[in-house]
Every structure is written in structure tokens, then in C-alpha cells.
């Protein structure tokens, strides 16, 4: 009995979690100091930021309180695309130790950079996430997020390793091998997208592996929105405790915020990431408890400071302090976005990217529709393209060639495998002359 009490308190008392419990006044003071530093740094190093400050006649030293953050200009996703690849860097390349790439809103990707200090901060917030989920030294953690340009895999990996856990870096894909290793290695925790875990649950059942009988006890799921009903479903089928983790490459990657064991919202590691909620239409700040767009400012980022970055994620800051004792503010779980971004198998996809790919191949934009479905727990994306007189030929090989070129361009631009279906002209439903671009048949 002693040991179980000890075990849970040991997890929450990991030394890395100390800032989670900082007295509020001290936290605000630290935030202000860091905000002033990051604004000065961005103003000195980043031309775009300086010019926007100049337009407002605003100097860095005019930021005297945390409320003054509202005077600062926003940063939006297209800023990262417009300054591709290195335009927003505040550190010289020799100090940059890592680059990650995420999808942009059109063909061009966005690049994010990290100094050694940034990677250390990233690792520390991931340690705080995982420790908050009850993981510790001795856990065996399977990282089934993609490794590589995507921040998910490496971010979770560094955190789990620094926590002192044993890391199994399976990356994404190959469900049968994931399940075999989970079973053979006695994996106790898994990090992946919630839909991928649903897929693993289904596959395990087909393989006759009873997840409930494995040592697996924690799942840290992120990179896409998911619901409480999905959590109940997952927990019912696998006997794990499922945690929601939040992050985005533009800010740092996974580890911007995470649930604690109370599961009442996600704590934002606000000693590094300052959260605001604004009206998505007007940009006006909203009080705690009001739903709006999450805006984040990196307080300690060196290589690529982000000031008031518009995440497009709709949520609210939950009023009051969490029962867990952390002084960090919490956001509600994210259910929707203020733009048309789709999240498919954890990958961000914009309809505008699909248009860019179709235009590139066709020269003109045919009517198209994106149809999203979930098959065996995995998101599937089909792009239906109406065959126009310009595209049509009486030769089947030429039509197949067109199909393959469209497929290739979409795979290339989106970075995920999609299905392309050529459909008859005038068969995609149009409402008031405008086609509905996205049909989402996924239910969660």
C-alpha cells in the first residue's frame, strides 16, 4: 500500500516539474521579464517583426506589463511561408542545431529552428508532460509518432529519454510490429495520435493480442483533436489512462501543454509559452472562460521567437486553479479551428494545398472535393476530381497517366498518401454555385 502511494507522488514530484507549482506572482514576474527579453530579441534580429513594430510606432521598451502584450503585432502562419526558409530566424545558422519542417497552407512548407537551448527547453517541457501523466524512470515508452521532419517523434523521444524512461522509437506505421514489440518488451506507455492508437486496438484484436493483459498503462495522445467520448472508448478497450497533449511546430512541437491526472484541461507550460485567447474575427483579447482563438508567445525561444502566434485553434482558458496544485493555467481541449485546416493522421492539410497541386498538374482548377473517412481507426483522404473536357482523352493509358500525376503531386505536396478518384463531370454537389470542398465523414 505504501508503495502505490509513493509511486504516484514520486511521479508528480519529479524535479523537472518544480516550475509547474511556482507561486503565481513569481510566475507572472518571470513571464514579464522573459516577454521583454524575447520582444527585444525579435526586434533586434527579425526584420519582419521590427517593421511591424515600427508601423505601430511601438518600441520594445514600451512593454512594461503583461497586459501590454496586447499592443504587440500578431504573427500568422503565412508569415512563416512568406519568409521561407530562414526569414524569421533570430539566431545565426551556426547556433541552430535542428530544423524541422511542417506543412504550410500552400505548396511551400514552413521551417522551424532550434538552438541547443531551445532543444533543452523542448526536452524539459516534454519531461514535465510525461511526468504529469504519471510516467517516470523505469517506464518503457513506445514512441509511435513519426520521426523525422515532423516534430512529434523526436520531441517525445527526447523528453522520454531525459525522464529516464526506456525509449522504443518505433516511429509510425507497421501496426503488427508495433503490437509485437509492445507485447514482447513489456511497454508501459505509448505516445502517438489517438486515431493511430485506435487502429492498434483494432489490429491487436485481429491478432488475438489482449491489450488489457499487457503492462501498457498510459497513452499520451496528440497532434490531432480528439474527444472525451473517444477517450472513454480507448480506455474501455485497453485499460490505459489516456492523456491529451498539445503542441505545434511553430511554437516548439509537442509539449506546449498537457493534461495532468485530473484530466480537467491541458496545463500550458506558461513559463515558456504565454497563452492568450482572442476573438478570431477582431483579434481582441477575451477574458478567461470565453471561447476564442489561442494565441501563443514563446517566452524563451532563441532561434525562432514567435510573438503572438495565431494558432487558429479554438479553445478557452479555464478559470481557476487545477486540483492537482499546479499554478499553470489550463486550456480546454481543442475541438475545432478557425481556419479550414484538416488534420489527417496527425498531419496538417489545407484544402489550398490540394488546389495548388491540382493547378500545377492541370493548369486550371477542376471541380474537386476532399472526402475524409475513417477506416479501421485510420483517417483516409480521397480527393475526387471531376474530369473536364480538357483532361479527357479517349486513351485509357493517358487518363491513367493523368491520375498518377495527380496522385504524385498530392502525395508530394501533402506528405501523406491520399486516394485520387477521377469522377464524371458535374457530379460533385455544388451549393449556390460553390462546391463544398470538404466532406468529413470521420466520427470520433
Amino acid at each position: 500500500m505504501m508503495s502505490s502511494v509513493l509511486e504516484s507522488s514520486v511521479a508528480d514530484c519529479h524535479p523537472a516539474n518544480a516550475p509547474d507549482y511556482m507561486p503565481v506572482a513569481q510566475l507572472r514576474e518571470l513571464q514579464l521579464q522573459r516577454l521583454q527579453t524575447v520582444v527585444a530579441r525579435a526586434w533586434h534580429q527579425v526584420e519582419l517583426f521590427r517593421s511591424r513594430m515600427d508601423e505601430r510606432g511601438l518600441a520594445p521598451q514600451e512593454i512594461r506589463s503583461l497586459e501590454d502584450i496586447g499592443k504587440l503585432p500578431f504573427t500568422v502562419k503565412s508569415d512563416l511561408r512568406d519568409t521561407y526558409p530562414f526569414g524569421l530566424f533570430a539566431s545565426p545558422m551556426k547556433d541552430v542545431v535542428r530544423l524541422h519542417v511542417s506543412s504550410g497552407t500552400t505548396g511551400k512548407p514552413i521551417v522551424v529552428a532550434y538552438t541547443k537551448e531551445d532543444v533543452d527547453v523542448w526536452t524539459s517541457v516534454m519531461v514535465r508532460c510525461l511526468a504529469g501523466c504519471g510516467l517516470h524512470h523505469g517506464d518503457i515508452v513506445q514512441i509511435a509518432y513519426g520521426y523525422g521532419l515532423f516534430t512529434g517523434g523526436l520531441g517525445a523521444h527526447y523528453g522520454a529519454e531525459a525522464l529516464g524512461a526506456t525509449v522504443v522509437p518505433t516511429s509510425g506505421g507497421n501496426a503488427d510490429r508495433q503490437i509485437m514489440l509492445m507485447k514482447d518488451f513489456g511497454v508501459t506507455a505509448i505516445c502517438c495520435t489517438p486515431t493511430y492508437f485506435l487502429h492498434l486496438i483494432d489490429r491487436a484484436a485481429e491478432l488475438g493480442v489482449e491489450l488489457k493483459e499487457l503492462p501498457l498503462r498510459v497513452g499520451v495522445f496528440g497532434a490531432e483533436p480528439w474527444t472525451d467520448s473517444m477517450r472513454r472508448h480507448i480506455e474501455g478497450l485497453s485499460s490505459i489512462e489516456a492523456f491529451d497533449i498539445y503542441g505545434l511546430s511553430e511554437i516548439i512541437g509537442p509539449g506546449v501543454g498537457c493534461e495532468c491526472r485530473r484530466h480537467q484541461g491541458l496545463h500550458i507550460f506558461e513559463d515558456h509559452f504565454y497563452p492568450e485567447i482572442v476573438d478570431p474575427a477582431t483579434g481582441e483579447p477575451l477574458a478567461d472562460g470565453n471561447e476564442g482563438e489561442l494565441v501563443l508567445t514563446t517566452l524563451s525561444k532563441q532561434a525562432m521567437p514567435m510573438v503572438r502566434y495565431r494558432t487558429r485553434d479554438i479553445t478557452m482558458i479555464l478559470p481557476g486553479q487545477c486540483e492537482c496544485g499546479r499554478t499553470l493555467r489550463r486550456i480546454g481541449r481543442i475541438g475545432r479551428r478557425s481556419d479550414d485546416m484538416l488534420i489527417i493522421r496527425g498531419v496538417n492539410v489545407f484544402p489550398s494545398q490540394v488546389e495548388a497541386a491540382l493547378l500545377e498538374i492541370e493548369g486550371t482548377l477542376p471541380h474537386y472535393q476532399i472526402v475524409l473517412t475513417r477506416e479501421q481507426g485510420l483517417d483516409e483522404m480521397e480527393v475526387q476530381v471531376e474530369v473536364t473536357p480538357r483532361m479527357f482523352t479517349d486513351k485509357i493509358g493517358a487518363l491513367q497517366g493523368l491520375h498518377d500525376r495527380l496522385q504524385g503531386a498530392l502525395d508530394h505536396v501533402l506528405g501523406i498518401r491520399v486516394r485520387v478518384a477521377l469522377v464524371e463531370a458535374n457530379t460533385i454537389e455544388r451549393s449556390q454555385g460553390k462546391a463544398r470542398r470538404v466532406i468529413d465523414r470521420r466520427t470520433s
Binding site: 473536357p389 479527357f392 485509357i396 491520375h403 477521377l422 469522377v423 464524371e424
Partner: protein
């Protein structure tokens, strides 16, 4: 000597050939030859019809994507070697067959081969030089 063939894009789903067939029937257009080239997902319905202009107009008016291409019709006796003779005439000429299909009249001993050539004019010259019977459209469409 060229014959106008009309091609339609159709999805490979139940009922997708019935609609254009019904439209043509309503307009009194007779389908003389038909061939469906298909993949798992979609197909190309190629037809030689009694009135290609009316057929194309009707189908386009109903939202179909139609393509009109020139093909050649070759008349052969329905006997072993009929096709081989034609193909041999083209051997070594560099004349490229995009695709072909054939139909025979069950009542007689005649077969008609439909060829889509990359260069129909070159093909006409070569086939005529080899003494092969090209069927003009009036003949082909004659009942």
C-alpha cells in the same frame, strides 16, 4: 475514310452506362459499335453511332464530357488470319496503333476492325497501298 468515334468518361459504378445509352435512344441515335475500356475506378465508353454530331451535342448538353476522335474501320473476311493480314501490313512502318477493337456480324462472314491510330492519314496511305479495305462511314453506318 475517317470515322468519327465518340468517347465518354464514365465511372465504374452500376448504372453509369445506362444513362448515356438512354439519352441516345431518346434522340433516335443508333449505336453501331461500342467498346468499354475500363479500370477498377472508371472507364472510357467508345461508340460509333449513326449520328455522331447529334450524339455529342445531346450528351454534352446533359453534362457528359465527350471527345470525338477519328478512327478507321477495316473490313475483313471473318476467317483465321483476317486480323493478322492487316497487322502485317503495318509491320515495320512505324505506324502506331493506340488501340483497336473488333466486331463481327453473326449473320454473315464479315468482321469489322476499328483502329485508332496516332497518325490516321499515314495509316490510310499505308493500308490502301497494301490493298486493305477501308470502310467509309456511310458503309459502316448502313443498316
Amino acid at each position: 475514310m475517317k470515322i468519327h468515334q465518340i468517347s465518354l468518361f464514365v465511372e465504374n459504378k452500376p448504372g453509369h452506362i445506362a444513362a448515356p445509352a438512354r439519352l441516345l435512344a431518346k434522340e433516335g441515335v443508333d449505336i453501331r459499335a461500342l467498346y468499354l475500356a475500363d479500370t477498377q475506378q472508371y472507364g472510357i465508353l467508345r461508340m460509333i453511332v449513326s449520328d455522331w454530331e447529334k450524339a455529342a451535342q445531346t450528351l454534352e448538353a446533359h453534362g457528359f464530357v465527350v471527345k470525338v476522335t477519328d478512327v478507321l474501320a477495316i473490313f475483313v473476311t471473318d476467317r483465321p488470319g483476317g486480323l493478322a493480314d492487316v497487322l502485317e501490313a503495318l509491320d515495320g512502318t512505324g505506324i502506331n496503333i493506340e488501340y483497336m477493337y473488333a466486331f463481327s456480324d453473326v449473320r454473315g462472314d464479315e468482321a469489322i476492325l476499328i483502329f485508332r491510330f496516332a497518325d490516321p492519314d499515314a495509316a490510310i496511305a499505308r493500308l490502301q497501298a497494301a490493298g486493305i479495305n477501308l470502310l467509309p462511314s456511310e458503309e459502316l453506318l448502313k443498316k
